[in-house]
């Protein structure tokens, strides 16, 4: 029986950090994409921007998020590629946030691209954060590259991300 989750690429950030993690030349042979990120920022900003096909025009992205920090729950939306979160630098050293994003029908060219993501961070038993993110890229182009770009900051060393292609045959 065929395996359905095929690892396309894993990127691990080296010494000194990295401005972004990018998956390029994504094969168009799968039905859906899934990526998993373990991330920490080098500053206190936890926002993770996700760009497709190097489209950095914020006006082409939308998101709706429900998130909770242990004491309150919030409902947020904006015209931005703020589609996930990572652990900020104020967290205890060695702690990285986790996130996943599912992108169905990424290789089609008829419809705008919808995304479904989860992000969680937990800071050594003192604070935490959980979020569900619904996103939209206002382009019908097939997704050929994905860039993960911490907002106004960099990925810390040992941050990593893996991209999987999901087959339906």
């Amino acid at each position: 029986m065929a395996a359905t989750h095929i690892l396309i690429q894993t990127v691990t950030v080296g010494v000194g950090g990295a401005a972004s993690i990018e998956f390029s030349s994504i094969p168009q042979t799968y039905k859906d994409l899934l990526f998993v990120v373990s991330g920490r920022a080098t500053t206190d900003n936890p926002t993770l921007q996700v760009y497709f096909n190097n489209d950095t025009n914020a006006g082409n992205y939308r998101f709706r998020t429900i998130d909770g920090d242990g004491t309150s729950v919030a409902n947020n939306a904006n015209t931005q590629p703020w589609l996930m979160r990572v652990t900020p630098s104020s967290a205890t050293a060695g702690i990285f946030g986790n996130g996943t994003m599912y992108i169905p029908d990424y290789s089609g060219s008829s419809y705008q691209k919808s995304t479904s993501a989860d992000s969680v961070t937990e800071n050594n038993g003192t604070t935490g954060f959980v979020a569900y993110h619904s996103g939209l890229w206002l382009s019908t182009a097939a997704i050929t590259s994905i860039k993960l770009d911490p907002y106004g900051t960099d990925f810390a060393q040992y941050s990593s991300a893996s991209l999987y292609g999901i087959k339906n045959t």
Partner: protein, 168 residues
């Protein structure tokens, strides 16, 4: 390496329809995952999507949900005696539902599911999590996905893919 996540069925709509049924589901997996991709209603408005199992149209389903939307803000609710498990609304432009159905083939427990609804639509953008229950011990052999409203329907291009997950 043993494959643990295998495709069972995939369908892309070439014409709009209100209902789609995936039948003859193999009983050889531990869990099921249903992905409804590029989905919207054919009228460009909004309609609630639900699932039922084994053709059971009785009031044997319930769900509890949380979410956030542009129209409704933060919300949580419950439906106790429905004819199917709500997955949330579908809107335009297209979004996604992902449903995980646990331990679907056993014959000793009621069946539970957890699902995600992800849409960004003008005035209706919504993200939600829905927990579902079918009050039956029967093994799930078919899944029917339907729009609560007869019209609008699932639009052309909507994809339905069912995966089976093996424990080993």
């Amino acid at each position: 390496m043993t494959a643990t996540y295998e495709p069972i069925s995939t369908t892309t709509l070439s014409s709009a329809t209100n209902t789609i049924t995936i039948s003859s589901i193999p009983q050889t997996y531990t869990d099921l995952v249903l992905v409804i991709g590029s989905v919207r209603d054919s009228a460009g408005g909004s309609s609630v999507v639900a699932v039922r199992y084994n053709g059971d149209t009785g009031a044997n389903y319930s769900c509890t949900y949380i979410g956030a939307s542009g129209a409704g803000g933060l919300y949580s609710g419950r439906r106790s005696s429905d004819n199917g498990i709500w997955l949330g609304g579908m809107y335009s432009p297209r979004g996604t539902f992902r449903i995980n159905i646990s331990n679907y083939s056993n014959t000793t427990t009621n069946k539970t599911s957890i699902s995600r609804q992800d849409f960004y639509a003008t005035a209706y953008e919504s993200v939600g999590q829905y927990i579902g229950l079918w009050r039956s011990n029967a093994a799930i052999t078919s899944v029917t996905i339907y729009s609560i409203d007869v019209s609008p329907q699932f639009d052309v291009g909507t994809t339905f893919t069912l995966y089976g997950i093996k424990a080993a």
